[in-house]
Every structure is written in C-alpha cells, then in structure tokens.
C-alpha cells in the first residue's frame, strides 16, 4: 500500500468530522442527530462485519453477538461499578475481545456455510443466556434504570447533541482504524486467505492466526458500535444480542456493497433511512421492506456503492478493482 494513502484517508476523515460537527450548530434537527448516533452504531457493526465477509471471506451469521455483548458489558459496568465512562468502555472492549477470541477459536476451525451456522448458533446461545440470567441482565426486560455518569472528559453525554458529537468521533476513528487494517500488510494477507487459503499458507501466512486476529478485531469494533447503541437507548436490551440484528448487518453490507470500504456504511445509512421512512408511512413495514429487498436482490444484484463506482470509474480502474 502507498505510504500517502493513510494520511489521505485521515484528511478525508477529518473533513467529514468537521462537516458533521458544524451541522447541529447550523440546523437544529434532533432527527438528524439521532440518525447519526444510530448510524455510528450500525455503521461500526456493518463495517466490522465486512472485515470478515469482504476482506477475509468469512461469512458470519452471528456477528451481532459482539455488538450486544459490548452493549451489555458497558451498561453493566456503568450501572454496577463507579468506573468513569472511558474506563468502562475500554474494559468492555477488552471483555468482548477475550470472548471473541474464545468464540473465534472454536468457529474458525469451520469453513464456508458451516462457519456461518456455528456463528449463528453461538449468537443464539448468547441470546438465550442473556434471557435466562435474569439476576445479572434483567432477562427479557433488559437493563433498566438508565446509564449513570455519562461524562467523558467533562462532556455530558446525557445531552443528545454531545452524544452526537461523541458518536461522530467514535465512528470516524473506528472507520479510520478499520481502513488502516484493510490497507496494511495484514489486510493484504487477509485477502490472500480469502482468495486461496492453500496458496496463502504456502506463502508463509499462518491462516488460523490471521483469521482469529481479524475475528477478534472485528468483534471489538462491533462492540464499539454496541457501546454507542447502549448510550443511545440508555441501557441494553436482549434485541441487541439477538440474531436478526446480524441479519440486518448482513443486509446493510449487501445493500451498500461488499467490495468497497465505505459500502457497509452507505448500506447502514440506507437501511436506517428506509426503516424510519417506511415505519413513518405504513404499518405494513415488513411488506414494504420485503419488496424493496426483492427489487434490490433481483434487480441491482450488487451493493449501491459497487454499482455507482462501476458506472463512474473508467474501465481500466474497474479491471484493477476486479483483480484485487
């Protein structure tokens, strides 16, 4: 990878952050701030899932479990201990990484569709534990009573606009970090694993180590999204660890495009926008969303960003993308 590319990405990230930062100062729109906070959570989940699906070729049906685990670990630490927010956030990332390492060690032994099944089964198990362990998690009612001490470096995140800015920072930093991972030599070896495991092994890549590392990394970024979600809903609910959430993340990356780094983020934005718009217009949410998905899956056949890039980029670049 070229040396200048990271500083270019960082510059783009900074510019995006600046734009996001000034919007609430110019326009007062709680709808927009809420949307960006949720996009931060969902975008981190979807982009981290694409580290597995797009970059490594590991199709996980249960990635949402780390998002939920992050949310629960964080909310529990905030409610049960006196830890400051950043410590609780950091510790929940550590907890999630440890669990992800354990789960990953079991799951990555399997390939293709069986990997997908076992990740799904893991998530079902976690969800069912959350439901059963009522004394710790509150069972189906979730962790109620809100999240106390929502201060980070003196900023009160109980104020929705402050939470908006914090979420924007978390989202941009998270994306930059994941961008850096995909662009690094480690990212290159992941793609080699994806394209041909045997050849990758032959070239000296320790396949299981690469897979496990990216599984843990992706899990931590998903947990980061979970922490944002937990702050948004002031607690944690079993739906945050349930597997339909993994399905939504999959839908987001399909919608946005697997082949582009920002595809999952774009997909998340479209998905959230669709959800809000459709819920607003009709009580037949499933019918409307289902038809949209069908049109997309049968008509578009690839993610929106992939689709747009194909049209915009000259054929030579396209061929280059294909070859990667």
């Amino acid at each position: 990878m070229r040396a200048g590319s990271f500083s270019r990405d960082a510059a783009i990230g900074l510019a995006a952050l600046l734009v996001l930062a000034v919007i609430p100062l110019a326009v007062h729109s709680p709808f927009f701030t809420d949307l960006i906070i949720r996009l931060s959570a969902m975008g981190l989940l979807a982009t981290s899932l694409n580290l597995l699906v797009g970059a490594t070729g590991l199709v996980s049906f249960g990635h949402g479990m780390f998002y939920g685990l992050g949310a629960y670990a964080f909310a529990l630490l905030m409610q049960k201990t006196a830890m400051p927010l950043w410590e609780a956030a950091l510790l929940s990332l550590v907890i999630t990484s440890v669990v992800a390492a354990g789960v990953g060690a079991i799951c990555i032994r399997l390939r293709t569709i069986y990997f997908a099944f076992v990740t799904l089964a893991m998530q079902m198990l976690l969800h069912s534990i959350v439901l059963s362990w009522v004394t710790l998690t509150g069972g189906d009612q979730g962790l109620r009573g809100g999240i106390p001490r929502r201060f980070i470096f003196g900023v009160d995140l109980a104020d929705q606009r402050n939470l908006y800015w914090a979420s924007a920072v978390v989202l941009i930093l998270g994306l930059l970090a994941m961008r850096h991972i995909t662009a690094s030599p480690f990212g290159v070896s992941l793609r080699m694993v994806r394209d041909n495991e045997t050849r990758a092994a032959f070239l000296g890549i320790e396949v299981w180590r690469a897979k496990l590392t990216v599984f843990v990394l992706a899990g931590s970024f998903a947990a980061l999204g979970g922490i944002v979600a937990s702050l948004f809903v002031s607690g944690a609910y079993p739906e945050l660890v349930d597997w339909p959430l993994s399905g939504q993340a999959i839908f987001a990356i399909m919608l946005g495009g697997i082949g582009t780094f920002l595809g999952p983020l774009v997909g998340s934005a479209i998905l959230l926008g669709l959800n809000d718009l459709v819920t607003r217009e009709t009580e037949y949410y499933g019918l409307a969303l289902g038809i949209i998905i069908l049109l997309f899956a049968l008509g578009f056949r690839r993610g929106v960003t992939d689709f747009v890039l194909r049209r915009l980029r000259p054929p030579r670049v396209l061929a280059d993308v294909e070859r990667r």
Partner: protein, 415 residues
Amino acid sequence: MFDNGTSSLRRRTLLAGAAGILAAPRIARAQQGTIKIGMQSIMSGAIALVGTSSRNAAQIEVERINAAGGLGGRKIELVVRDSKGQPQEAARVARELVNSDGCEILLDAEASSGSFAVQEVVRDLGVLCIHTVSETSSLTADPKIRVATAFRSARQGVHDAIVGGGYTAKTAKAKGMTRFATCSPDYAYGRDTTKQYVEFIKHFAPDIEFITEAWPKLGQPDFTDSITKIIQAKPQAMFSLLYAGDLSSFVNQGNVYALFAKLAMFNPNLGDYPVLNAIKQMPPGCYSGTRYLENFPDTPANKAWGEAYRKRFNEYPTNWSWEMATAIGFLEAAAKKGGAADGKKMAQVLPGLAIDSPFGVNGKITMRDDHTIVDYAIGWGETIAKTPFIVDIQAGDWGQIVELETEWKKQNGYV
C-alpha cells in the same frame, strides 16, 4: 473522481435532499392549530392485535373529541407508529414522534419492556406520556422509575393479583381444592406476576400448596410438554398467566388431553373476546378475570361503547382498547382542567384527576397520585362457551385492593 458535469449535479441534488431532511421537522412544527399526539405500539408479529385494537379505540375517541371542538380548542391529529415490539425501536420511535413529528403528547401502547424504554425517553424529553398497555407494577409504583410526566391508564398487575388471589382462594375453599399447579410464560412479566398471585392466593388461603410449575416459552407453538407435566403431578387446580394466542393454544391442546376434566383453571386473561373466540371448545371449570367485557360493568354506557366499536371495526374490542380509550379520556379532562392543550400543564393536573368513564366501577376512574389508575372494573367469574362468556362475576373490592396494595408497596420499599 467527481469531475464531470453529471456527478456534480448529482451531488447538488444530494445536498438539497439532505437539507430537505433537516428542514422537515420545522415544517411539521409550523401548524399550531392542531395538536399532534403520537401513538406507538406493536403492529406486527404475533401480538399485532395489541396495536390494532389500541389504534381502533384511539380513533374512536379522537374523532369524538374533534367533533366536540377538539382538545382545549385544538383539533387532534393522531400519528400512529409501529415499534415492532422491540425496546430500542420503541425508544427511537418515541424520540422521533416528539422530535421530528412535533407530537406534544405520547400514548405508549407498548408491552412492558418497550414501556420501560419509552419511560427513559420521557424522562429525558419531559413530554406528557400515558402508558396504556404495560401492567408491570413497578413502572409507576417504584419511585426510582416513576417520571413526573408519565402516567399509566392500564391495569396494574398488583391490583389484579389481589382480586384474582382473593377469588381463587375463595373458590378453591368452596370446592375443597388445595393442590395447585402453575403454568405461566417464562419471562419477566410471567414470573413476577405469577409470584404476586401465588403470594396473594396464599395470603387468602394459607393451606393451598403449589406442587408443580411449568414455564413454557412465550410464543411457543406447542404446550404439550407442559400439559403432560401438569397431568403427571395430579393437581386439583392450576393457576396460569398465559395470554392471547398462547392461551388459546394451551386450552385447545389441553382439551386433547381432557386436562380440564381433571382440574380447574384460574387465569386472569381468559376473559378477553379474541381469546374466547379462538378457543373453539371452552371446557367447563375455568375461571377468569374480566379483561374487557361489554357486560361488566353492566351499564348502558359500557354496552354502547362496545357496540359502537364492534359496528365500526367489525371485531370485538380488547382489554387494550378500553385502556387506550381511558388514556384519551384523561387527556380530554386534563386539558379542560388545565385550561389548555398543553402537555406540561396537563401533567400537573393529572394526579388526583377523576373522569367519567364507562369502564369505572361507579362510572368514574381516578388517576391516583402515584400515576396509575384506580376504581376501574375488576371482576372474576366462571367462563362459559357462549356470550356473555363469563357468568357469576364477583367485583373486586377497591377498599381491600388499596389496603393490600399499600402493604405490598411497603414490603418492596416503594413508600
């Protein structure tokens, strides 16, 4: 990459679109003539009936108020939204209704977990909200959870438990039943409320013993394993909190085993029209609370309300329907007393407010100081296969209810 004409045009359209999204809420707020009331509920999935029957009732009441000149002179516009029964979506929808749609009042017809999520949003936004479905007592009883602008127009679990406990104990004594089983859904509402009922049943009849318990999952398609487990234990009666589709499944499957020939069933949730209609062969020996019945309270007002609902929607009203209608009745009265359709003022006058209601014991329902309603109709009776479905109804005694409720609150450290 974006250096040709088309894409810069596209970018401009995109920016304009984004600006449109940002500006939309302002347009929504601009109409001051009408007052927007947001109603959120579960409109999809297995218990979509919660949402549809709440919305129907809301429509009837809003039309009535608008025809009479509106809420404090302002016409009501009802904004209905589906939360799909997910707490985090419930929280989002509540925020959206207030922040983007400009709703000044919320009617929250969510199940308990959704209501607790909405409660936190209400705490944050300070908007007037009436919960119309959640029966979980702590939502308003626990001062840590209670919110100054949030009220409940639904039954409160502990009220039902006191009346149901008393009725069950009395009937059991009369029939010489002492060996009980329980069979309730395995989630927070099912477990907590069953525990309350068991406590009150034992309070009224200490010699009753509970010999076995089954905890089927919510929405489980087949209850045969629970049914046969109960049969093995040979109890004389069972207490159950199963409801809606789960309850009709359970009774239909129990019939296959002739379960109800061997034992009596006490279940507060049988006495709701959709359940009664879905149970094709109602066995004898089942006792239920009155969820919503046109003949309880047996007044012309209640009968007229039920008939109007049936005529309008070609289906029976549910327990959730009267609870929603009651919420809107309270809004109407509060706007009148407070002098304007203003959420803050209405929230201040609501505690202690009494309204005329077809669903009250003496034609009145009161919003008590602890933000939950009292004096609504609670009764228990024996179920039969055809209308009026429940006979020999014994009404609960509100003096006794409040006395035991206060004791219960003390035990839980709520007062």
